[in-house]
């Protein structure tokens, strides 16, 4: 069967494909306790299922290729179609036993893996609330002291080794929070309070994506997760608590004036300025993020220009309107946004 001959080649190609990039949005990412346990369990299941499949295929080929002496098969032509061999009858019982035992084993393995993930995630130290909107993530770091709460969007910074509990809410439709390199997914359902606990174990940058169809731009609802060392994480938190820098260059000042007095401030908020809209993402430290518009574009000056000028052509249907800025206004606004580090 040619599929048998082609399969190793294809698997090799796919495997090298799998190894040739960063593993930053992949279930093989292994960057958190949950992801590692997924991989172990997946390998166990894969091995058991592969053995079962091999048994079926071997039985199939044996049945096809088996040599039958003339007049001795249990077929209608030989008048023996009502007979069957006792070997097959015992094989049936053996097969059922193997299947049942195998499934029980897998179910028990799954149950224990589930419990062990739950235990690893107990004792959460950090609490985050993510509210999903069409098509961006509103991220808020909770704190007992209200003045220490951090609000950002589409990006997470997590300290390595610290269990973090993320509360999941939605403002509109059902979304799903999924960072495959770290953990499995959990839905954000309007009217329900879900949560997920993750214990990141490897410093790095990972990408997550919404995994429940949520409308036109479901494909462009990603978020970036930075797993930092603990000191780096604290430094980041403290930087986030700073309000937006005041603009210095004349162009940035013009941009500041536009942003705070015109359409931008009606939807977005920038800490320390009059812009206090609650409809769109918080922009206070926009320029320090890695992506624009929930993973639609990487952060950069050109992309900022493109996004501010015409979001509808980059992410059609997004709720940010195309304003139709004049060139001078566009330069000013982007110059200001770039200062929001």
């Amino acid at each position: 069967m040619s599929m048998g001959r082609r399969a190793p080649l294809v698997l090799l190609a796919l495997g090298t494909g799998a190894c040739s990039y960063q593993n930053y949005q992949s279930t093989f990412g292994n960057a958190a306790i949950e992801a590692r346990q997924f991989n172990t369990l997946f390998v166990i299941f894969l091995v058991v299922c592969a053995v079962m499949y091999l048994a079926v295929v071997l039985f199939l080929f044996a049945s096809i290729l088996r040599r039958r002496r003339a007049g001795e098969a249990n077929v209608v032509e030989d008048g023996r179609h009502h007979l069957s061999s006792p070997l097959m009858r015992s094989a049936l019982i053996g097969w059922s036993a193997v299947v049942v035992v195998g499934l029980i084993g897998l179910a028990i393995a799954s149950f224990f893996a589930d419990r062990s993930m739950a235990k690893a995630a107990s004792g959460q130290k950090l609490s985050i609330t993510i509210t999903a909107n069409q098509w961006w993530w509103d991220v808020q770091y909770n704190s007992a002291d209200v003045s220490k709460m951090v609000r950002t969007a589409n990006e997470l910074h997590l300290p390595v080794g610290v269990p973090v509990r993320i509360f999941l809410r939605s403002n509109d439709v059902i979304h799903s929070f999924w960072v495959p390199s770290l953990a499995g997914k959990q839905d954000l359902i309007p009217g329900r309070d879900n949560d997920i606990t993750i214990v990141p174990s490897k410093v790095g940058i990972y990408r997550g994506q919404c995994a429940e169809f949520c409308g036109a731009q479901h494909a462009h609802m990603a978020l970036v997760v930075n797993v930092d060392s603990f000191p780096d994480f604290i430094k980041w938190w403290q930087h986030q608590l700073q309000p937006a820098q005041a603009p210095t260059t004349p162009e940035a000042v013009a941009g500041y004036n536009y942003v705070t007095s015109r359409q931008c401030g009606a939807c977005h908020s920038i800490a320390g300025t009059p812009a206090s809209g609650t409809v769109g993402p918080d922009l206070t430290h926009l320029a320090s993020r890695r992506s624009i518009a929930a993973g639609t574009l990487p952060m950069g000056q050109g992309n900022l220009y493109g996004w501010v000028a015409d979001p509808q052509s980059l992410k059609p249907g997004v709720h940010m309107p195309t304003i139709g800025l004049e060139p001078a206004q566009l330069h000013a606004v982007v110059a200001y946004l770039e200062t929001l580090k």
């Binding site: 509109d172 309007p190 007095s261 015109r262 359409q263 401030g265 009606a266 939807c267 609650t278 409809v279 509808q312 052509s313 059609p316 249907g317 709720h319 309107p321 195309t322 304003i323 139709g324 800025l325 004049e326």
Partner: protein, 184 residues
């Protein structure tokens, strides 16, 4: 395949192509480029003296007036920009009710859009520079549904929110009570 079957298939295809694109459901996501702002001096009047005709409806009106995605977008904007704070869900409190047949500054969609953009005395803010024209038209389209003006096929029955009014698809039609406000 008989020739009769082929002919009827072609006829069906032809009808389909001509009827394609049901305007009511067309989603327009791009705003008009700069320069096409609301006509200067859009009159908020509802009385046209001497038998003169009211001005022609802005050509953009039909892109929004009976357009389901525009009305849905307007419904979201109505809550997000806190129109509810003064007008409630049409019943009015500090601001006048929007679900009745009394329109001080006109109940045509372009007049409503002008009211939103320019602001009005006694507390209606001017949103011209805070919202894009596209958003203002969407809001105007939604506001008209509060008094039941557009075709019921384009209106959604309710939002996913606490229920406080008659469902949108069952709202009784209250045409503006003044002469000359054509085109509902």
């Amino acid at each position: 395949m008989s020739s009769r079957f082929r002919a009827s298939l072609l006829l069906l295809g032809g009808i389909a192509v001509t009827l394609a694109a049901c305007d009511r459901e067309e989603r327009h996501s791009r705003s008009k480029p700069i320069g096409e702002t609301l006509p200067a001096g859009m009159s908020p009047d509802t009385i046209w003296p001497g038998g003169t005709q009211p001005p022609a409806l802005d050509p953009r009106a039909k892109l929004y007036d009976d357009n389901a995605p525009a009305i849905a977008a307007g419904q979201q904007l109505y809550s997000q920009f806190n129109c509810v704070g003064c007008h409630s869900h049409g019943g009015g409190s500090m601001g006048p009710p929007l679900m009745d047949d009394q329109w001080r500054y006109g109940g045509r969609i372009d007049q409503i859009a002008a009211s939103i953009a320019e602001g009005r005395p006694n507390g209606m803010p001017a949103w011209r520079n805070k919202l894009t024209d596209d958003q203002i038209w969407q809001l105007a389209a939604y506001v008209r549904t509060l008094s039941g003006q557009p075709s019921k096929d384009a209106v959604s029955s309710r939002a996913d929110a606490m229920s406080s009014t008659t469902p949108g698809s069952l709202t009784p039609r209250e045409p503006a009570k003044s002469s000359g406000t054509a085109t509902q």
